[in-house]
C-alpha cells in the first residue's frame, strides 16, 4: 500500500485550531462552534486535549476537521471555505430594506392588554394615514436596494382604514412597473372586520393575512378584549374563511405570551393544530412595554418563559411524531442559521440589527421609525428611534441619520462585549431598542439582558435536544431548508 492509514491520521500536535468558540451545555458536555456556526459536541476532556494537542481520538479529530474547527498547518482549503461561507451568510446585507410597515390607522375596536399603541377614538381624521403620506412613504420604500419588498399593513386595526390599504396596494403595483421588484403584501389584522369585499380584494392581489391567536378561547379573550367579548371567535371564523377563500398558505397567526399563557403551552399549540395552522411562533411580548405601562399581564421572568417555550416545543415535536407537520417558527429561523449559510431575514435576530436596514415603519402621521418597537417606544414618550418624517426627510436623511447609524454600529455582535466571544454569535442578533429602553444604551450589558438570557436559553435548549434526540435533529434539518 502506498499510503498507510496511519500516515493520514493526525499525530500529537499535528493540527492547529481554527477560530472557534465554546459554550458549556452541561457538566460534561460542551458545544464548539466555528466562525459560521457549524457545531460539534465534545466533553471538557476532549476540548482540553484538542487545545493541548494531545487528543488521540482520530474519529473526533476527523469530525473537527470536517467542521472547520481544526486544520493541519499549511492547509488553505479550510480558510477558503470558511471565507466563502461567511460571505454567503452576509450576502443579503446590501439588500436593505426588505420590510416596510405602514401604520394605516391607530384606531382599533380591541383593547388588548399588551398593546401599546391603539386608540379608541371614532374620529377617522385624527389617527388615519392619508394618501399623501402613503405616497411619500412608498417613494421612500422604493429607494431601497432590496429586490424584494414586503409591505405590511398594521395599526391599530388596518381594516378600519381599508380604503387606504386598497389604495396603497394599487399605487405600489403601479410604481413597481418602473422598478420591477418582487412585491409582497401582508395585512396584520384581528380579522373581526373581515367581509366579502376585503376577502375578494385579498384573493385578487394575493395578500397574505397575519392575525393574532393567543391560544384557546378563554386565554385569547382574556388578553384581547373587544365589545362582544368574542375576539377568539372572530379570529377563528376569520382564519377559516381566509383558508377557504385564499388557501391555507395565505394566512398565518402569531401568539403573544402573557402571564396567563404560561403553563398552557400544549393547549395553545393544539389550538393552532386544530385550525390547520402549520406554523406557531412562540415569542414573548416586549417586556419593557409592560413594565413601563403596567397594563396587566405582569412581568414574567425569562426562566418561566423558557419553560413555556420548552413545553410548547415538546408538544410540537410530539405532533410531528404523530404525523402533523407543525413548525415552531423561532426554532426554524435558528435552524437556518445553525445548519445552513442562508440568511432567514428575520429582522429581530440579525447582526447588525434589523433596524432601518431590515425594516422601516411609516406611522399614520408620516413619522418614520427604525422598527415597530421603536414606534411603540415613541408612544411612551421616547423618540430615540424616530428617523424623520415622510413629509420632509429624504432617503439619505433617514438612512444616514445618527439616529439610525449610532444604534446600528453598536449592534454589531462581533464587536459587542460577551457577544464577540459567545459560541452562539452566528445564531444571534441584537436589539438596540430593547437595550436602550431597559438599560439606557444600545448594546446593553449582556449578562444582565433578558434578550441575551432568552436567546441563550433557546439556543442551549435546541442544541441539547439535537445532541440527545436524533428525531429532533432531523426535524431541525427539515425546518432549516
Amino acid at each position: 500500500m502506498k499510503l498507510e492509514r496511519a500516515a493520514t491520521e493526525l499525530p500529537a500536535h499535528g493540527w492547529q485550531l481554527l477560530p472557534l468558540r465554546f459554550h458549556r451545555l452541561d457538566a460534561d458536555s460542551l458545544v464548539l462552534t466555528n466562525l459560521v456556526g457549524e457545531h460539534v459536541f465534545v466533553t471538557p476532556g476532549e476540548l482540553a486535549s484538542v487545545v493541548d494537542g494531545t487528543c488521540a481520538d482520530q474519529g473526533l479529530l476527523a469530525r473537527l476537521r470536517a467542521a472547520h474547527l481544526i486544520q493541519v498547518p499549511g492547509e488553505r482549503l479550510p480558510v477558503e471555505l470558511l471565507a466563502i461561507k461567511l460571505r454567503t451568510r452576509m450576502r443579503r446585507l446590501p439588500d436593505s430594506t426588505g420590510l416596510h410597515i405602514f401604520v394605516v390607522t391607530l384606531r382599533c375596536e380591541h383593547t388588548c392588554r399588551y398593546c401599546q399603541v391603539s386608540r379608541q377614538s371614532a374620529a377617522k381624521n385624527e389617527f388615519d394615514m392619508t394618501e399623501q403620506t402613503a405616497r411619500r412613504a412608498l417613494e421612500l420604500a422604493f429607494r431601497s436596494p432590496s429586490p424584494h419588498l414586503k409591505i405590511e399593513f398594521q395599526g391599530g386595526e388596518p381594516l378600519l382604514n381599508f380604503p387606504l390599504v386598497r389604495w396603497i396596494t394599487a399605487e405600489a403595483n403601479r410604481m413597481n412597473k418602473e422598478h420591477g421588484k418582487d412585491l409582497e403584501f401582508v395585512i396584520a389584522t384581528n380579522l373581526a372586520l373581515l367581509d366579502e369585499e376585503i376577502l375578494g380584494f385579498c384573493a385578487g392581489e394575493q395578500i397574505h393575512i397575519s392575525t393574532s391567536l393567543d391560544g384557546p378561547q378563554d386565554l385569547h379573550n382574556g388578553n384581547r378584549r373587544r365589545p362582544g367579548r368574542d375576539s377568539w371567535q372572530q379570529a377563528v371564523t376569520g382564519i377559516r374563511r381566509v383558508q377557504e377563500r385564499l388557501g391555507a398558505d395565505q394566512v398565518s397567526a402569531l401568539m403573544t405570551t402573557t402571564e396567563a399563557s404560561l403553563g398552557r403551552a400544549a393547549e395553545i399549540i393544539d389550538t393552532y393544530a386544530g385550525l390547520g395552522l402549520r406554523g406557531v411562533f412562540l415569542r414573548p411580548v416586549s417586556p419593557y412595554g409592560f413594565a413601563l405601562r403596567g397594563r396587566g399581564g405582569a412581568n414574567y421572568d425569562v426562566g418561566r418563559w423558557l419553560e413555556f417555550y420548552a413545553a410548547g416545543l415538546d408538544r410540537i415535536v410530539e405532533l410531528n411524531r404523530q404525523g402533523v407537520p407543525m413548525v415552531e417558527m423561532y426554532a426554524s429561523i435558528i435552524a437556518k442559521k445553525m445548519l445552513t449559510n442562508a440568511d432567514p431575514g428575520y429582522v429581530d435576530l440579525t447582526s447588525p440589527a434589523g433596524i432601518g436596514i431590515g425594516a422601516l415603519v411609516y406611522n399614520y402621521d408620516g413619522d418614520i421609525y427604525a422598527s415597530d418597537e421603536g414606534r411603540m417606544l415613541a408612544e411612551m414618550g421616547d423618540r430615540t428611534f424616530r428617523l424623520g418624517t415622510v413629509h420632509d426627510s429624504s432617503y439619505a436623511d433617514i438612512m444616514l441619520s445618527d439616529a439610525l447609524l449610532n444604534p446600528l454600529t453598536e449592534s454589531i455582535t462581533l464587536s459587542a462585549p460577551m457577544c464577540a466571544t459567545c459560541a452562539f454569535e452566528p445564531y444571534c442578533g441584537a436589539d438596540p431598542v430593547f437595550h436602550h429602553a431597559t438599560m439606557g444604551d444600545f448594546t446593553g450589558h449582556k449578562a444582565l439582558s433578558a434578550f441575551c438570557q432568552r436567546n441563550m436559553g433557546v439556543f442551549t435548549l435546541l442544541l441539547r435536544k439535537m445532541r440527545d434526540d436524533p428525531y429532533f435533529r432531523d426535524l431541525m434539518w427539515r425546518w432549516a431548508q
Binding site: 500500500m1 502506498k2 499510503l3 492509514r5 500516515a7 493520514t8 491520521e9 493526525l10 457549524e38 482520530q58 479529530l61 476527523a62 469530525r63 476537521r65 470536517a66 493541519v72 492547509e75 488553505r76 482549503l77 477558503e80 471555505l81 466563502i84 461561507k85 445548519l339 445552513t340 449559510n341 432531523d474 434539518w477 427539515r478 431548508q481
Partner: protein, 399 residues
Amino acid sequence: MLKLIGRADASGLARPVAGDVWRVCLPGDADSDRSAADGDAPASSIACLLRDRQAAPPGYGLYLIAGNEPRTRPEPPRVSGTPGPMLRLGPELAHLDASDIIHVSGDGRRVTVLWKNTARHNALLLTEQCDNYCLMCSQPPKDRDDAWLFDRARKVISLLPQDARALSLTGGEPTLHEDALIGLLEHCQQVAPQLSVHLLSNGRRFADPEFTRRYAGVGLADIMAGIPVYAPEPGLHDFIVQAAGAFNETVHGILNLASLGQAVEIRVVIQRHTVPVLAGLAAFIVRNLPFVAQVALMGLEMTGLARPNAPLVWADPAGYQHELAAAVDILATAGITTRIYNHQLCVLDRRLWPYAVRSISDWKNDYLDICRTCTVRGACGGVFTTSGNRLSQHLRPVP
C-alpha cells in the same frame, strides 16, 4: 450484456486495413452516399455492414459481413465478392448495427466496439494513467504512454452520428494530459456541440485556476465533471485514493469549476470505509458545496484493484441501508439532486427506490438466474458482470 470485443475473419484481406476507426452503416442508409453531409468523415471511415444475401454497394473503404448468432442463424451470411476489403465478423458482434463505431486492428482480426448507438451509456477511455490509486479502482492505473487513446477518441467524435446525445470521457485521469484534453473538448465543441459530455476526473488538476479557465473557455453547452469525494476531510479521503493532498486539491478544483459556472457532479463509491462517514459527507456537501449539480452514490464494482483489496473495501449493500438512507435524506431535504447507481433493487431500502438509476453499462450488466421471477427486474440495473461472484449475499427476487 453486450460483447464489445470480437474476432473477425480477415482471410479475405489482401493488405492491412487502411484506417482504424470506422462508423458502421447499412447499404441504403442516408450516408451510403459517402460524399454527402459528413464533412469530417472521409470515405475511408465508413464501413458497410452486409447481412445475408445483400449486394455490396461500391465505394466503401471497408465491408463487414455481419456476425451470425448461432442460435438464430446457424448459416453464415452469403455474400458474394465485395468491391473493397472485407471482414467476416464473429458471433459476438452479431449485435453490430448502423451508427455503431468500431476500431479494427491492423491485421483485421480484432474488432472493438467504441460507440454503441443503442446503448444507454457510451464512454471513451482517454488514458490509463492516474495520479490517484483508489483502493477500489476498477480501472487500475498503468504508467505507459497511451496518447494514442486521445487520437482514437478524436476520431470517434468526428464520426458520431447526428443523433448522438451523450458521451462519457473516462480514464485513468483524463486531465493529466491537459493539452490533449482541451483539444479534444474543443474538437467536440466544433463537430458535436449538441453532445452532453460527462467528464470523469478526480478534479485535482482543476485546482490550477489556469487549467480551469481553459476548460471553461471551450464553451461546451452541456458538460459536467463527475468528481469523486469520499470523505468530508482529508484524512480518510486521501487514504482511500492513496494520495496525500488529494482531498484539498480535489475540493479546490470543485470550487474553481463552480466559480466559473461549470457543472459538477460529486460521486461517492460506497465501500467499507465510506459507509460510516456517508451522512457526515452528505452534510459537508450541503454546507460547503451546495452548488453541485447532483450527487451520485455508487455501488462497488468488484473488479480491478477492488478484487485484491476486497477485505479492505467490500461492504454488502444489505448492511448499509441505514447509512445510505440517512445520507440521501440529508441531501434530498436540502434540495440536492441525488442518484443511487449500481445497486440492485432487492438490496436497496424501498424508500430509496425513487433515487435508483439503471446505471450499469449494457456491456457489463447481467442478471442472475434467480432474477427471472423478480417483479421489478425491468426497473433494476442488475449486477456487474465484472464483479464475478463478488456480490451481495442478499440478492433475491422481489415478490
